[in-house]
Amino acid sequence: MDQFTLNLLVVGATFALYIGIAIWARAGSTSEFYAAGRGVHPVLNGMATGADWMSAASFISMAGIIAFGGYDTSAYLMGWTGGYVLLAMLLAPYLRKFGKFTVPEFIGDRFYSQTARTVAVICLIIASVTYVIGQMTGVGVAFSRFLEVSNSTGLFIGAAIVFMYAVLGGMKGITYTQVAQYVVLIIAYTIPAVFISLQLTGNPIPGLGLFSDSVATGQPILQDLEGLLSDLGFKSYLEQSDTTLNMFLFTVSLMIGTAGLPHVIVRFFTVPTVKDARSSAGWALVFIALLYLTAPAVGAMARLNLINTFYPNGTSEAALSLAEIEAGVDAQGNDVNWVNNWAKTGLLSFDDKNGDGAITYANGDANELTVNRDIMVLANPEIAQLPGWVIALVAAGGLAAALSTAAGLLMAIASAVSHDLIKSQINPNISEKGELMAARVAMAVAIAVATWLGLNPPGFAAQTVALAFGLAAASIFPAILMGIFSKRINNKGAVAGMLAGLITTIIYIFLHKGWFFVASTASFSDADPLLLSIKSTSFGAVGALINFIVAYIVSNATDEVPADVQELVESIRIPRGAGSAVDH
């Protein structure tokens, strides 16, 4: 069976599974649509949260970023997991007790202010739309590489699948589909990693293989990699090259950004009790850690395999020749067809500039090979010469990661529009049936907009991810935290704090990335930033600090929080009674 048929079979089987679940888990009420009827078991909710959180960025990009960045990129590993500790202790249990449907709803009620709610809706929509563009683009790429259809056809197929289970099933359909998608994506990520770890180190657990000895040389593989990189003039894998200040603030920004992303927070509204909300955050991290403990191994091993492909006899001998690439096999008989396969996509390119008939891979002007770091995970099984069904599985896994996150984001956008705008501000008397219809229409519109943006991705899509995290870190996270842990922060303080955090963060990003991401209008660059060594991607932490300070000062200078709101704060701190918020 050829590779194309295999890909089609494996991806087709997973899609059939998702559609089957969608038909089974159709939502009948607004509670089922927004919060899956609050009946989801914490372990299943943890799994769904894992799939919701781990996007195309975690599945496809992260290991590639680590492969080329080494120690400096540890911020992603710590940041995207450490946020769950904050969620479990500082946000999730109390928001579950609050017992409503959306994040802006909490902010609006706690700060007794429609303005606060509207600011939260705006942050939510900007952060979620930004994110969804990336997922849709990822779906298009995965389809065009593995199913040999055009990028746009791939995007339409993906959008149709999401439409089926998200619009029909709402949160309930999304949750149970995400459980299935988690299983698909974790198997797809782990199996090639196990094979590669066995080949290189003889250890079947990739996370342990990373710190084991190479079967080829007998010394630790990290030392092998460090030696090869130094021979070729690349920066060290193990040493720190970023400044400590920036690495610190980047990790803070990713952590509190994770804890402040609305599509992650709403997942904790779906469990039956406060107790379940706490353990559900733990289970989510268990399922996320399975991938995140493997990712640094995938990164290091992919870099090692990449170098070994181009220097089959070691870096002191001749590099891979054009004739070998053409033939798809090197002098040792290793299959190097993947170089040609990926060259076709344009994501890998080589150019024999010095005309010596071989492709030099090294740092500096002599380099003749360009590799897009996003292909490392997808190309990994081919680089390691694994069987065809593993390649098909990785394609299905990448699609599962992108689709599950897209569905979660679309849900967050649709509920913000139908619940926080239409029901709360435009037509408060809307019936439950009417609201459900509004939510479905909002979801369908959101899918159409996301698909259109995926077809015509704005040039700034990649940069705006920093904006999404910055917004969540600088506005939403501090507002919720202060709402729960302080009875002194009032409506004026919260609004002033959110706006101050939001605006300074946006200005700082625009100063470095260009106003509205028009690159020519940038006054500074991340290589030489405005403040100390703080890059625009790390500024969310500073924005959050500004939010806290402004909210505190303004609240202390203005009126006390009304007694009924203080009682609300008292009540969300106590778990008893959360069950009564089921099916209300």
């Binding site: 997991t81 500790v85 479990a88 202790m89 460090e226 706490r278 268990v286 995140y292 701190r573 106590i574």
Partner: protein
């Protein structure tokens, strides 16, 4: 229904558990993984040093333990103060 004084004691106890947990959370990630890495550089592990391990894997394992220990401690505290469900 528990009275207000007891609710305040419950909340204070919760904040104390959170405080201790977050100190550990900070030390293993920002501490061992970033700020204190030079101090730990003498401790070798699989071709690199302990700080590298904490930054790439160790901190994640500690985060996991922290959440489950927190959840267990809070379940106990909920019962002691009669606010469990």
């Amino acid at each position: 229904m528990a009275n207000n004084g007891d609710n305040n004691a419950y909340w204070a106890a919760n904040k104390r558990i959170i405080g201790i947990s977050l100190v550990i959370w900070f030390v293993v990630s920002f501490g061992f993984g970033i700020l204190l890495r030079p101090v730990l550089s003498g401790i070798a592990i699989g071709g690199t040093d302990l700080g590298f391990w904490f930054a790439q894997q160790g901190s994640i394992l500690v985060f996991l333990v922290l959440i489950f220990v927190y959840a267990a401690k809070m379940n106990k505290l909920d019962k002691e103060h009669g606010v469990d469900e």
